[in-house]
């Protein structure tokens, strides 16, 4: 790959983020017509990727890269092979039409610019997911898609249902994302490979590892939540609260397939084990059936489509889980087909809603004449979804049946696939036949054809589904074969024909599917009633469970907060000091760090005297019954400390301590005389004893720790350094001063800043008058206010500021 095209590719991958930044500005000036201009961005990205179709279909891997955080080995490196390219083309291609569609759908919406912005952010993130080579980069993009999905689902944030759906999607996919991160970290630790390229070139590294099971489960946790596999399927139908362009783009064509992408991407290294071929088909099959059955129950077009999306994702996971070549080929084809027809059908559902005012199929009918273009697009897409020729959906179904028949437990897998497909057939038929055929029903709005912005997307996607089938051979060569090669980890050959080469089991199964589907469609009303009855009988589902989970979480959080945060400072302080005492004493006792029994210290008589003064000062503070005694006693112990500094060779400290103590006593005296408070302790005796025990424990802890430290040898290197260089390089003889103003000058600068800041805070505290006091409307507060205070404030103010100087 030439440097120029590397730059272009990286530019293409990052351009959606730039588009997200300019979209609101453009929309402000051009209104909904900005969509035409903005759609150029994904179109150009599509063209850039289209240039790679040739080389990639010949087996090349394109690896554009930029160093990002080299010290951690995190690179902005990309891997573009068949799988990545197919996804990238789908994202940018469908994205182009979604942008146009969003222009028409949210025409006149005050936040349309923001909406475009979110869509572009998502597009950039999703392109990143499918092209990222570095596992960490992949994870970051993965989480970005979850976040943008949250923003888009909650776009209409004034409705509680939107907020709930957004939060639910974020919690479920974000939780899965965490599992995925753990999985990736385990993969990196076990194999030492940070990039997919390295990982894929070492296919046995994971399968043979003893950590295979945890890695498998963690990766599945990410993939299953993102791709809405049972029992995590519930967030996807709820995500339909989002505006329809979002449902069409994120929640059918692209984002929800990220999980499938991940499984396909890691298939060469994780797949084809007994665990893989058991768990994936099991959950995939269950999701397929649950999705279609729940879909049959719905009458809302978007919800019907949403549940079939769940079902289709289940089908894809089931097929990926078989690890049979033919079934994997079917999965790739179905993936292509599904993105095209489901994207189109969602946009059709949105158009119907937009033009007719409802999406309920029981209130729609006979729109065929009023909306002919939409009708044609819907029919083409639905025929593909039904798996009828000559559409890509038909070829996909033929191949996947061929594949399921080859699986070990083929009968079960095939039966599940046939049943699921038949139910999807019925839903697809209902989605088109109910609104467009039959007698014309009066709708809330007078229905007519939507503008070109609305029908361009459905037409383009459904026609692509037809063309891809008509040019089956080319589709197979350019898209399916390279993608399949990525899944298998070796070159694959794919031969696709629109007309089945021979009449065999797959064609027969297709006929059975169609027959069953027609049967289901005809008995739709009865089936719907039966399912609704059964669901009411069960009464509980994961969706309700989510509500209970959130309510429980809030309750636990409240209880914990109430328990820990009692609003009593004494409780907090007691906890802090009890833990301080424990953390000082326990290590000493456990690690045998207790000091040796010291000999009786040898002090000179005046030293004893000063110690005695300090002790007397402390005792007097403790027992002081009035303010003045307390203040004076505080001064006594402070001056004793100053004398201790003096005796042990620290005259600077001594000076400072004298000044500070004097100032403290003066300020304290000034403030205390304004406060009519006694320093005496009025608590009951038992409370005093409990406090005394904790206080003694803290004191003993510090005492023993200090003894134990001073009994060990002392490392004097740092002090010697200062002593040696103080005069030589800093030209000062007072080493303490040199350290403060020179060696550690920045510390002193910080100290001065703290003092200045404290001074400002004091000033603010005094200056802020009692305007806000009326908010604390308790009688006591008013009483205190009533006192004349201006004088006292000035009195406190002056000395405090002086002290700062």
């Amino acid at each position: 790959m030439t440097p120029a095209s590397t730059d272009l590719t990286i530019l293409a991958l990052l351009s959606p983020f730039a588009a997200a930044a300019i979209a609101p500005v453009l929309t402000r000036y051009l209104k909904h017509n900005a969509a035409w201009l903005l759609a150029v961005v994904p179109a150009l990205i599509f063209l850039q990727f289209a240039t790679m179709i040739g080389p990639v279909s010949e087996g090349a891997k394109i690896l554009p890269a930029l160093h990002w955080v080299p010290s951690y080995g995190v690179d902005l490196s990309y891997l573009i092979d068949g799988l990545a390219l197919t996804f990238a083309l789908l994202i940018s291609g469908i994205g182009t039409f979604i942008i146009l569609y969003a222009g028409g759908y949210l025409k006149g919406h005050p936040q349309q610019g923001r909406f475009f912005s979110f869509l572009f952010l998502f597009m950039g993130a999703m392109l990143g997911v499918v092209t990222a080579d570095n596992l960490i980069t992949l994870f970051i993009y993965w989480e970005l898609t979850s976040i943008t999905s949250f923003l888009l689902i909650g776009f209409d944030h004034l409705r509680a249902a939107s907020r709930r759906a957004a939060l639910q999607a974020l919690v479920v996919t974000g939780g899965g994302g965490l599992a995925l991160l753990a999985g990736f970290v385990t993969i990196i630790t076990v194999t030492g490979h940070m990039s997919l390229t390295e990982l894929l070139s070492d296919p046995e590294a994971l399968r043979g590892s003893e950590f295979y099971l945890p890695i498998f489960l963690l990766v599945l946790g990410g993939a299953f939540t993102k791709s809405a596999q049972f029992p995590f399927h519930f967030w996807l139908p709820n995500a339909m609260e989002a505006p329809t362009p979002v449902s069409a783009f994120l929640h059918s064509a692209t984002m929800v397939k990220a999980g499938v992408y991940l499984l396909m991407r890691l298939h060469p290294v994780l797949g084809d084990t007994e665990l893989w071929t058991t768990v994936l088909p099991l959950f995939g099959g269950a999701t397929l059936l649950v999705g279609t059955i729940l879909g049959m129950r719905q009458t809302d077009l978007k919800l019907m489509l949403a549940y079939t999306t769940v079902a289709s994702l289940g089908l894809l996971v089931m097929l990926t889980g078989t690890s049979v070549n033919k079934a994997l080929e079917g999965a790739v084809l179905y993936l292509l087909a599904h993105s095209l027809f489901k994207g189109a059908l969602f946009m059709v559902a949105g158009t119907i809603d937009h033009e007719a005012g409802t999406r309920d199929i029981t209130r729609l009918g006979g729109l065929r004449g009023a909306m002919p273009v939409t009708f044609v697009a819907a029919s083409l897409a639905a025929l593909s979804m039904c798996g009828l020729p000559p559409f890509i959906g038909f070829i996909a179904k033929e191949i996947l049946y061929e594949g399921t028949l080859e699986v070990g437990s083929g009968l079960v897998v095939t039966a599940v696939a046939v049943l699921g497909n038949a139910l999807m057939f019925a839903i697809a038929a209902a989605v088109v036949l109910k609104p467009f055929f039959g007698p014309k029903v009066e709708t809330p709005k007078h229905a007519h054809e939507g503008p070109v912005l609305l029908f361009a997307g459905p037409v383009a996607l459904s026609v692509t589904g037809l063309v891809a089938a008509l040019l089956a051979h080319t589709t197979g060569e350019l898209f399916v074969a390279p993608t399949l090669s990525s899944l298998l980890g070796e070159a694959a050959h794919v031969e696709l024909h629109l007309v089945p080469a021979h009449v065999g089991m797959p064609l027969l199964l297709s006929l059975v599917t169609v027959a069953l589907g027609v049967g289901f469609y005809l008995s739709l009303a009865r089936v719907r009633g039966a399912i609704a009855g059964a669901l009411t009988a069960i009464g509980w589902g994961p969706d309700k469970g989510f509500d209970q989970f959130v309510a429980g979480l809030v309750m636990i959080a409240t209880a914990v907060t109430r328990g820990v945060q009692r609003g009593r400072m004494q409780t907090y302080m007691t906890a802090v000091f009890a833990i301080t005492a424990l953390s000082l004493l326990l290590p000493l006792a456990l690690a045998d760090g207790l000091p040796e029994m010291p000999s009786f210290p040898e002090f000179r008589f005046y030293e004893w005297g000063i110690f005695a003064i300090a002790v007397v000062g402390l005792a007097a503070v403790l027992t002081a019954a009035n303010r003045l005694t307390a203040i004076v006693s505080l001064g006594i112990q402070g001056f004793a400390v100053a004398l201790i500094f003096m005796l042990f060779g620290a005259p600077d400290l001594s000076f400072t301590q004298f000044m500070v103590e004097t100032l403290s006593v003066v300020i304290l005296a000034l403030v205390m005389t304004r406060l009519d408070l006694t320093p005496a302790d009025h608590r009951p005796f038992a409370a005093k004893v409990a406090t005394a025990i904790i206080a003694s424990a803290v004191g003993a802890g510090f005492m023993l720790t200090l003894m134990s430290i001073t009994q060990r040898p002392f490392d004097t290197r740092l002090s010697e350094f200062f002593a040696e260089y103080s005069r030589v390089i800093a030209h000062g003889r007072n080493i303490v001063n040199v350290i403060i103003v020179d060696f550690r000058g920045f510390d002193t600068l910080g100290e001065i800043a703290v003092v200045v800041l404290t001074g400002l805070c004091v000033l603010a505290l005094i200056r802020v008058r009692t305007r806000t006091t009326s908010e604390f409307d308790d009688g006591a507060g008013e009483e205190a206010l009533a006192k004349p205070q201006d004088l006292s404030n000035r009195a406190v103010h002056a000395p405090v500021l002086e002290a700062k100087g």
């Binding site: 809030v554 000091p595 403290s664 304290l668 904790i694 002090s719 205190a784």
Partner: protein, 125 residues
């Protein structure tokens, strides 16, 4: 020597913690003032004690030749004294203003931020 001072420092800590565990602002303030002294003495003593000789380089010399007190803890403590003083001054004014506004010096009765009958947080979305 260090041992003897350790006992004294333990006493300083015990007294300051005892005072801080009281409910009354005045006692808490006194405790904080003493805590500053306790910590400063702790740092000072941990750097080992030397009697009377300050860390000054004689006029005619370029490095220390005689045994002097350890300059490093002194530099640290010098900073700490000033910081703990400004901290004390701030707390003092804060306590004073709190008493003016709230009309109580009992920490347990200061419940403006966390009222006793605080309603539950919202349960919905």
């Amino acid at each position: 020597m260090e041992t003897g001072l350790s006992v004294l420092i333990g006493l300083f800590f015990a007294v300051s913690v005892y005072l801080m565990l009281s409910r009354h602002l005045v006692r808490i303030l006194l405790g904080i003032a003493i805590l500053g002294n306790a910590v400063n003495l702790l740092i000072f003593t941990a750097g080992r004690l030397t009697r009377e000789v300050p860390p000054l380089i004689p006029e005619h010399l370029y490095t220390l030749v005689t045994e002097t007190a350890n300059p490093l803890p002194q530099a640290l403590v010098l900073t700490a004294i000033v910081i703990s003083f400004s901290f004390f001054a701030f707390l003092l004014v804060l306590a004073f203003r709190a008493y003016q506004e709230l009309g109580t010096d009992d920490a347990n009765e200061m419940r403006v931020a966390e009222p006793e009958d605080d309603p539950l947080p919202p349960q919905g979305y």
